[in-house]
Amino acid sequence: MSANLIPILWDATLQTLYMVALSAILGTIGGLPLGVYLATSQRGELLSSPWVNWALGLVVNATRSVPFIILVVAIIPFTRMMVGTSIGTDAAIVPLTIAAIPFIARLVENAIREVDAGLIEAARAMGATPFQIIRKVLIPEALPAITLGLTLAVVSLIGYSAMVGAVGGQGLGDLGIRYGYQRFMPEVMLAVVVILIVLVQLVQSLGERVAARVDRRAARNRGH
């Protein structure tokens, strides 16, 4: 591989990291409360309101049903409204975030629903408000599962970010298509794939380590 490809690969990696990091953060900011609400607004739960829950579930499912590449193109007017342009790395963050929110929400919802109902009962018996139960019981107890869910979401976002070349989003996937495929440079394609594998591997290991650190359910996790 020629030496002048190294800076291009480096830039593409940074672009990917930027898009994934920002959309993961924004996706969590939107997805975490939505997921908590989806879990707690079910019939008979803390914030029971089945109709709102049903309506939100519908929106979440609808968003998740749209293939990502179609979502990217379909929301171009919205993207232009949000970031002033429909082209480039910043523009790519809009569809990535929109895809991340319902995905993260479902992962968080599942994590919260796994929390033992006995703990909610104990907190209610203490006189805790629904908000206190969410903040002091549900989220801390679900944290190991939420961490693993977010890891999964980041890995998925790395995959999604490869498709945003369609709106000039750049990044590794775009580089692979333009150089590796269209210019027929297999060594670029190979380098892109290797970098993506390494990235996913790093994110996965990091996520698992953080999850293990916050998981106090088994005695083995005690540091000493």
Binding site: G118, K136, P140, L143, A219
Partner: protein, 352 residues
């Protein structure tokens, strides 16, 4: 219950609970519950699973609401309280659970601190109070451990410390020892009895084990099919069980069960020809030590065979239960004699 309702810590008046079923009808879980839990008592409610005891207990802190009647704690109506009024009542009512319900993500110290955080206690006051509570249940050495590192008995001690954090007037125990081995059960029961004594805390517990009531309950109630079938001071219920359900619970705990070779041959009606009556003799208080059977032999000339028996303590009251058989023709005479001397008798059946 024998105590007046005036000094009751918890009062159930005509309480009923029914749930709507899918087909429009309702299932009745509890009906016509009248029960006064005396101030400072340890009151135990015993019943089989599904008898409604758990629903009854949960009405005291509003986790369940009655569909009929009234539940009051220290004079405050729980059933109609909502929002912050209900949360204030709940801070005066501690609760411990069969499966402890401790937060895995928090250390012992932080678990005990949770009710104080919830109540908005200033951080500076939480720490000393938590230390005091942890000492009270003897867990100083484990204060910074996580629940996963504790044994069942230790977890329940954390549960007890947590339940006491907000200085409640009443402690509810939902089968708190049912997940523990017999030895640990004893130490947890002793801790509950000590807390009751030292803090003057009223304890309402539910259990399916008569031994728990025998060991710590001053008062008890038996629940069956959603109704209370018998209630009173524990030693009185133990000596004079009026209801069949109470008797069947008692037979498991008093040690006086018929040996199988007799039980298999037991006839409910007295057969023709010579036969023996099988009689349960219950003795309590002072009579427990009287040599009644030898008196029966010397004064009436009736000799009795001892089939099974046990003497134990219910609270501070000695309590004995003896199964004997004697000549059926003279059974009435013998029973009258024993009853005259303050013993309770019951004919269980006859054997040829």
């Amino acid at each position: 219950m024998s105590s007046t309702t005036k000094d009751a810590a918890i009062l159930f008046e005509g309480v009923g609970k029914s749930f709507p079923k899918g087909d429009g009808t309702r299932v009745t879980a509890l009906s016509g519950i009248d029960l006064a839990v005396p101030q400072g008592s340890i009151t135990g409610i015993i019943g089989r699973s599904g008898a409604g005891k758990s629903t009854l207990l949960r009405m005291v802190n509003g986790l369940e609401r009655p569909t009929e009647g009234r539940v009051t704690v220290a004079g405050r109506d729980v059933g109609t309280a909502r929002g912050s009024a209900l949360r204030h009542i709940r801070r005066d009512v501690g609760m411990i659970f069969q499966h402890f319900n401790l937060l895995a993500s928090r250390t012992v110290r932080d678990n005990v601190a949770l009710p104080l955080e919830v109540a908005g206690t200033p951080r500076a006051k939480i720490r000393p109070r938590v230390d005091e509570l942890i000492e009270q249940v003897g867990l100083q050495a484990l204060a910074d451990r996580y629940p996963a590192e504790l044994s069942g008995g230790q977890k329940q001690r954390v549960g007890i410390a947590r339940a006491l954090a907000t200085d409640p007037k009443v402690l509810l125990s939902d089968e708190a020892t049912s997940a523990l081995d017999p030895e640990t059960t004893q130490t947890v029961l002793e801790l509950l009895a000590r807390i009751n004594r030292d803090l003057g805390l009223t304890i309402l517990l539910i259990t399916h084990e008569m031994a728990v009531l025998r060991d710590i309950a001053s008062h008890m109630a038996v629940i069956e099919g959603g109704s209370i079938v018998e209630a009173g001071e524990t030693h009185k219920v133990f000596t004079r069980p009026a209801h069949a359900t109470t008797r069947s619970f008692l037979s498991g705990v008093t040690g006086a069960t018929l040996p199988a070779f007799i039980a298999d041959r037991l006839l409910s009606e007295r057969p023709d020809g010579p036969s023996e009556a099988v009689i349960r003799v219950t003795f309590a208080g002072d009579h427990a030590t009287d040599p009644m059977l030898s008196l029966l032999a010397t004064e009436l000339g009736i000799s009795a065979n001892i089939l099974a028996g046990a003497i134990e303590e219910v609270g501070t009251h000695p309590f004995g239960n003896l199964l004997i058989s004697l000549e059926a023709a003279r059974a009435d005479e013998a029973r009258a004699y024993l009853e005259r001397h303050g013993l309770l008798t019951e004919v269980l059946g006859h054997v040829r």
